[in-house]
Amino acid sequence: MTLSDSVPKLLAASQEELEKLLDEFEGSPSLDAFFDIGATAEILSLDRRSEETTPLVGMLSNAAARWLWSGILEDVAFASVGCVYHTALLCYFAQYSDKYHPSDIKTIKRLSEGRLLGRSDLPLLTQEVTAAYLSRCQVSATFGVSGKRDLATLIDKRALRARSDEYDIMAIIMCAQLVQLGCASYESRVRLFPRTLLIESVRSDNINWLSALTFLCVRMFGLPPWLRSAVVERAITHLPEGVGLLPWPQSDKESDLIQRTARGLRLRSTVALMLCLNDLENSDHG
C-alpha cells in the first residue's frame, strides 16, 4: 500500500465530517462549530484548488454563500470579536459558490465601512489577515494595514521560546495566508519555526500538529529531505485503516487564546495530511 492509497479514504472521512459539521452549524449555530469549520477553512484556503479538495471547497463555499445571504455570518461576526477572522475567510470562500451574488456581501461591507467590524483589539496578525480577506471580497478594510511587516522575525523568533501551543500553528497558517494573498513579500517567508515545531511534533508523536505542519512545509515553507522520512514514518503509523479521521493525539497542546475543539482539529489535520500525501510519496520515491 502506498501513501496515496489512503487519500480516497481520508477524503471520504473528511467529506462526511465536514458535511455533518456544516449541517449542525446551519441547524443550530454555535461558536464551537463555527471555529471547527474555520479551522478546516484555514487549510483549504492554502490549497490551490487541487482535485482532492474540490468537493470540500464546494461544500464549504456553498454553505458560506448561504450563510452570507441569510445573515448568519454577519450575526456571528457582530456577536463576538473573535469571530471576525473566520467570518472574513468564509466570505472569501462564499465567492466561489454558484449561489453567491455580489450583493450578498453588502451588509458585511456596510459594517466594515461603518467602523462596526474588524477594528477591535486583536493580535496584529489576525487584524492583517482579516483585512486581507475582506479586501478580496471587495470590502474596503482600512484596518490591518501595518505594511509589510517582517514576518520572518515575528514567526521564526517564536522558536526561541520554551513553550508552544495551538496558537503557534494558527500564527504560521496566518503567515502562510498573507504570503499566498500577496500581502507579504516572498523574501519574508519563514523557515525556522515551522520546521522546529514539525520536529517537535515528530518527537512527541503529535499527529495533529504533524499533519498541519507537514502540509504547511510542503506547500509553503519547505520540507527538507532529512526531515521527510521521519514525517512519513510517523504519518503512516497514524493513518486509519478504514474510513476515518486521524486520531486525537494524547500529547496535544491547547491554547486558551483560541477556541477550537478536538473535532475541528482532527478534521483540519486529516484534510491537511490528505493534501500532502501525494507530495510526500512522490518526493520519497524521487
Partner: protein, 307 residues
C-alpha cells in the same frame, strides 16, 4: 458638607483605605514557584503592584504604607527566577522591564542579570510574538523606560493600530478595546509625566480626550469599576480640561467607584464581587487589580487640584 467636599473627603479616605487593604493582603502578592502558565500568572500581581508603587513615587507620593509595600515588593521580587520566566515566554518582556524599572527607581540592583534581558532583546526574542497593538505599546514603553530606545520610538506607530486610531465606532467598544485605549494613554503620557503631543498631533490628542470622556459616561452606567477606574485615571494622565458637563461625568464616575468600596477598603470590580466581599466570599484575585487602579487614582487626585 457640600457635594465637592464630600467627594474630596471620600477620595482622601479611600486613598488610605485602598493602600491599607493592599498592605493587609500583601502576602497574596507572593509569587508561586509553580511552572508553566501558573508562573506567569502568579507574578502578574507583583508586577502590577510594583508598577503602581513606582508611579506614585514618580509623582512624589510616598507615605508609611507605600514604603512598607515597596520594601515588601522588592524583597518578594528578589525571590523570583526572572530568567526562567523570560525563557518561558516572550510575553515576560514587559514584566521584566517593569521590575527592572521599579528596582532602578528605588536605586536597587536588579533581581536578574540586565545583560540577559539585553541579550533576549538583541536576538529579537521579544519580537517573536503576535500581540495586540497596545501590547506592543506596553512592551515598547516598558523597555524604553529602562533605557532601550529602540522600542519607544515605535509607540505612535503601534498606537495607530489600536481600536481608537482605527476609529472603532463607540457603540462597538468592548472591554478589551477600552483597556487598549486606557493603556495607550498610560504609555503615551508616561503615566501623566509627559504630554501626549510628544507622539501625537494635537487633533488626535483632542479626539482621544473626547473619547475618554464619552467612554467614561458610558461606563458610569455599566457594572465595571475596573474599567471605569482606568478611564478616570486617564482624565488625570492626559489632562482633560474640565467644564461643567465633564465635571458632572467625572463626579458620577467617582461616586460609582465609592459605592464599589468593600468594608475593608478594597474596590470591587462588579456588584456581584462586592456582594461576595460583603459576605467575606470574595478572593484576592477578584479584588486586587481594581484596588490597585483606584489606589493610584485616589492618590493622584489628592495630590492635584483637579475637581
Amino acid at each position: 458638607m457640600s457635594r465637592s467636599e464630600f467627594i474630596k473627603s471620600q477620595i482622601s479616605s479611600l486613598a488610605k483605605a485602598t493602600l491599607k487593604w493592599l498592605w493587609t493582603n500583601s502576602g497574596s502578592f507572593k509569587h508561586s514557584n509553580l511552572t508553566g502558565k501558573e508562573l506567569n500568572w502568579q507574578v502578574k500581581p507583583l508586577g502590577e503592584l510594583s508598577f503602581m508603587l513606582m508611579t506614585l513615587k514618580r509623582h512624589g507620593i510616598r507615605n508609611r504604607l507605600t514604603d512598607r509595600l515597596t520594601a515588601y515588593a522588592l524583597e518578594e521580587a528578589n525571590t523570583v527566577d526572572w530568567q526562567e520566566l523570560a525563557a518561558y515566554d516572550s510575553s515576560a518582556a514587559t514584566t521584566l522591564a517593569v521590575i527592572a524599572d521599579f528596582f532602578m527607581t528605588e536605586g536597587r540592583p536588579l533581581p536578574f542579570e540586565r545583560s540577559y534581558l539585553d541579550l533576549l532583546s538583541d536576538m529579537g526574542y521579544f519580537r517573536g510574538m503576535d500581540r495586540p497593538a497596545y501590547g506592543e505599546m506596553e512592551m515598547a514603553y516598558s523597555l524604553g523606560r529602562i533605557g532601550d530606545p529602540r522600542y519607544e520610538a515605535s509607540l505612535a506607530a503601534w498606537f495607530a493600530h489600536t481600536p481608537f486610531c482605527l476609529r472603532q465606532h463607540p457603540a462597538r467598544y468592548c472591554i478589551d478595546d477600552l483597556y487598549s485605549l486606557t493603556h495607550a494613554v498610560y504609555y503615551l503620557t508616561d503615566m501623566g509625566l509627559r504630554d501626549a503631543t510628544q507622539f501625537l498631533d494635537a487633533e488626535t490628542v483632542t479626539r482621544m480626550k473626547n473619547e475618554i470622556v464619552l467612554l467614561t459616561a458610558v461606563m458610569v452606567r455599566a457594572d465595571n469599576a475596573d474599567a471605569l477606574g482606568e478611564l478616570a485615571l486617564c482624565w488625570l494622565l492626559c489632562g482633560i480640561e474640565i467644564n461643567e458637563l465633564r465635571r458632572t461625568i467625572l463626579n458620577q464616575a467617582l461616586r460609582r467607584l465609592f459605592v464599589a468600596a468593600t468594608p475593608d477598603g478594597a474596590i470591587a470590580p462588579t456588584s456581584k464581587v462586592l456582594a461576595h466581599a460583603k459576605s467575606s466570599q470574595s478572593n484576592f484575585g477578584e479584588l486586587y487589580h481594581t484596588t490597585l487602579v483606584c489606589a493610584m487614582l485616589f492618590h493622584l487626585l489628592t495630590k492635584r487640584t483637579y475637581l
